[in-house]
């Protein structure tokens, strides 16, 4: 891989205020323009750096577009099968309880293929943090309906829009998980605006801290843009997210155990 190098900022009057996260080994992630997942990854990596967690972090990654990340992030990663990250993370955390363990899953991975896994892991109060990148579509396969596709959402397998009679209702996983005993923290953020990113970073920090404080299972659902498979131009992604995904999945802290 080759690195795109930014124009030199070595002039003494210029101060570098923004760069890729130190834990990102290259900016070449191969994801589409306008995708929200690299923004979420940046936010997570910044936090791991700021909270000084790198040397004790193990990420368990699911299967989706974000499977492009394990090879380019400077932390230990176990690559799990589609839907299986929660059980793998359980095995990791149980044998290394002093490590910081988080999963990275998409909506197809967590809510469609692996729903049973995340529910049981949450109910056990497994002291891990689950990060859900929810764009309401199977991105990697090319735009197919998932369990979280919103009503009216056009995908290649819900042509003309997701219809209750044909396709049923979307699963609001955060609201489903939160009431379970053993769950310490659940929040939903988004990557479609600077304010939302800032809010989400605080949610992630609270979830990470909850794990460090051994409070139990934590989940941060992050709404991400997928303009390619929403069939809109990249620049229209944030608005589409605001008007569609966020309308079904409001940004809020759903549970925060004291």
């Amino acid at each position: 891989m080759t690195e795109h190098t930014a124009p030199s900022t070595q002039h003494s009057a210029l101060k570098k205020v923004f760069d890729k996260p130190a834990l990102l080994l290259t900016t070449q992630h191969n994801l589409c323009p306008g995708c929200g997942e690299p923004v979420a990854l940046r936010t997570i990596l910044e936090l791991i750096q700021e909270m000084d967690l790198r040397a004790r972090t193990i990420c368990v990654c699911g299967i989706g577009c974000y499977t492009a990340f394990p090879g380019i992030i400077d932390i230990d990663v176990q690559q799990a099968l589609h839907g299986r990250a929660p059980s793998v993370a359980t095995g990791v955390k149980r044998v290394l309880p002093d490590r910081f363990v988080f999963t990275l899953q998409g909506d197809g991975d967590m809510v469609s293929e692996g729903l049973q896994e995340v529910i049981h892991t949450a109910a056990r109060g497994e002291n891990v943090t689950a990060v859900l990148l929810n764009n309401g579509v199977f991105g990697e396969t090319g735009g197919h309906m998932t369990a979280t596709s919103v009503l009216g959402q056009h995908t290649k397998t819900s042509v003309g829009g997701r219809d209750v009679a044909k396709h049923g209702h979307p699963i609001k996983i955060s609201e489903l998980i939160a009431p379970l005993d053993g769950v310490a923290y659940v929040a939903r953020g988004a990557m479609h605006s600077p304010a939302a990113i800032k809010w989400t970073k605080q949610c992630l920090q609270d979830a990470f801290q909850s794990q460090l404080d051994r409070k139990g299972f934590s989940l941060v659902e992050i709404l991400t843009m997928c303009p390619t498979d929403w069939f809109v131009p990249p620049e229209a992604g944030p608005t589409w997210l605001e008007d569609n995904l966020k309308a079904t999945y409001p940004l809020r802290v759903i549970k925060a155990a004291v």
Binding site: I75, D76, Q78, A80, L81, V88, G91, R94
Partner: protein, 357 residues
Amino acid sequence: MGSRVLMEGSQALAEAAVQAGCRFYAGYPITPSTEILEYMSVRLPQVGGVCMNAESEIEAIGMVWGAAGCGVRAMTASTGQGISLMQESFAELANAQIPVVVVNMCRGQGDYFQSTRGGGHGDYRFIVLSPASAQEAVELTLTAFDLADKWRNPVMLMGDFLLSHTSELVEFTPRPPLELPPKTWATTGANRRPAITLSPLGPSEKLSTDVAAALTNVTGKHPAIKAEEVRVDAGFLDDAELVVVAFGFPGRFVKYAVGMAREHGLRVGYIRPISLWPFPSAIVADAAGCARTMAVFELNAGQMIEDVQLAVLGRCPVVGIGGISHDHSGFGVGPILNVEYILQRIQDIYPGRGGTA
């Protein structure tokens, strides 16, 4: 321990796993493998280990994946039906080169194909060991963990209802530890070392994209495993006109029946493959070069017989003398598993008496 104790095969196997250093177990109950889960749930906490009641076999193998991926010796057990559910993970555990031990405590022997071929995708192989007694289950369980670590490849122990539920005297003799490579591939947090990825999809090194090399490493070791890890029990081959091949607990019945046939003056030998993969093809081929007939006794419709035929390569006829055998329990123990029946079948097909030679 050092002294002899009376234990069911499944318990003996589980205790051997603990003594082999297994510190993580995840399982889902299913007859006849449940006793391993029961034993581990009590025993592992005593040695600082973890036993998980997984919500299904799929999660059980996932949990074992995670623990083994951190370098801890880990095991799961199930029965053919539950093992079917784990196949996707099996294929990718082999690709990720994660050394887990899996016990397939089958009902009968109908899961030979499942154990030796597997139902997963891709080019993977499991090393498969098949004990015929509780004592051999102890020895092979110790071996299984060593082989898994030595080759960075999953190892399966294939047993059956009788092995699991028969109480026998067993002895636990400490073994000198095998010299094994350090588990530099294990994810433990990138503390004073470069970060790594443990993945079935590609290389461990960050920024490397050489997927083909990673997958070639997975299968590149197969010839060496075939050369080094064949295990077999055999007898009376020197003058044998007929050689009976059988594996697992029924292999003991065959060994006994062959002894009876010898008392009747029949020149019969036996081969009991202990490693089902790699299959002891060479000794089967040698035997087929001397004997006039090869027979296979297995409690299924004819599965291992294909491996025997591949080894024999037409040197002599290969006859199946086993079959599907169940009583009302459905656990694979039926009327055929009887030394008198096996002796009769040997007499029926003995060269010069039956219609096959």
